[in-house]
Symmetry: C2
Subunit: 235 residues, 2 copies
Amino acid sequence: MGAAQTSPEGLGAASPIDRHAFSVLAVTRRRNGHTQDQAGHIMDIPVAISARHVHLRQDTVERLFGPGYQLHARTPLSQPGQYSAVETVTLVGPHGRLEHVRVLGPPRVADQVEISRSDEIHLGLDGPVRLSGDLAGTPGIELEGPFGRVSLSQGVVCAARHIHMSPQDAQAFGVRDRDVVDVAIGGTGRDVVFGDVVIRVAPNSQLELHLDTDEGNAAGVHPGMTGYVVARNRE
Amino acid sequence: MGAAQTSPEGLGAASPIDRHAFSVLAVTRRRNGHTQDQAGHIMDIPVAISARHVHLRQDTVERLFGPGYQLHARTPLSQPGQYSAVETVTLVGPHGRLEHVRVLGPPRVADQVEISRSDEIHLGLDGPVRLSGDLAGTPGIELEGPFGRVSLSQGVVCAARHIHMSPQDAQAFGVRDRDVVDVAIGGTGRDVVFGDVVIRVAPNSQLELHLDTDEGNAAGVHPGMTGYVVARNRE
């Protein structure tokens, strides 16, 4: 299994460094272009950085922007039917504010504020790392729009890193919905292997790794990059 | 070589996932408490998060805080002789400001502003990932103090992640100054292996991995955590 690729050159016999683990980032660095499976399918995963954003209920949209207000689509997102809206809101936390925070559409059944841990520290909040929609026990926050202000009783999360994929992709990768994998991103000068990456399988999903801004920055990610799955963990 | 520890359970023979690479984070998760070398030395590395800060020349201190002004030590840092000062400054970039940014002492021969990539985006700057002191070609920034304002022509960096260690530690780890290693941090729910971690060896240095806030957040680091070196890369 690639022992020749991962020879720990220069490590003496008594070295306390784990020889087995030598290879992950080294292997990533050696891979140029696409990784392919045995059938020739491309296995690299496009990486997308999710900047801070909010999902809103329709009634919350109206309380922030006015009665009967409808969001205006600005840019389609990679996941089908989703869009970045023209509208933005201001987040008001106990210790700070963040303005011009993008609203994503269409409206949902629950308000959700997805921010990075850096944002949480700026705002003075302690929202947990969660998958989208898993909002029980999360902190609330104040939202300000041009028409009004809304106090959410919950909904602030730091999005758990995840990979969107279709059932066909899941079969190709040999994974199932909710599996947890490790993903390597190399060649940036800030190479990283991210553990705790959750697989999200849904029909028509576009294959994409979603990181928050802290994670993207920690890995030196730039537009158009790809990562690749290095390990699957079922615990 | 730990093959039994890293059995890729559940992966079929045709799986495209790299079996060799399965182990890094899994091994990290299995290690409870301290890693030891063959002589019984503790090999875990305490992790410290460097929040945004500035190092200043004495003349810059005086231009910001007043003629003859001396920094006041507030808290000693883990590296001998270094301290967090009572004084703070405001960073003013093309697109934003950051207030209450800590000054570290004692004064140095060059002004240096160490911020995260998230901070750079907020300020509207594009400073490179660099080791401390490697300032050629870095962007400048405006600093505001209670007495005056200083325009730096260079000095803004995103600190390259690094491990401070003594010559004795370097011998124990089997590494040299400027070596680059991979460091795993596990058990946080946001497990990460950081590549591109630079070894900095100096007499009396306290063993410590320094991450910036983006990196600490991406790994879910909390106070008192340790990481461990999983691989050494000499390229």
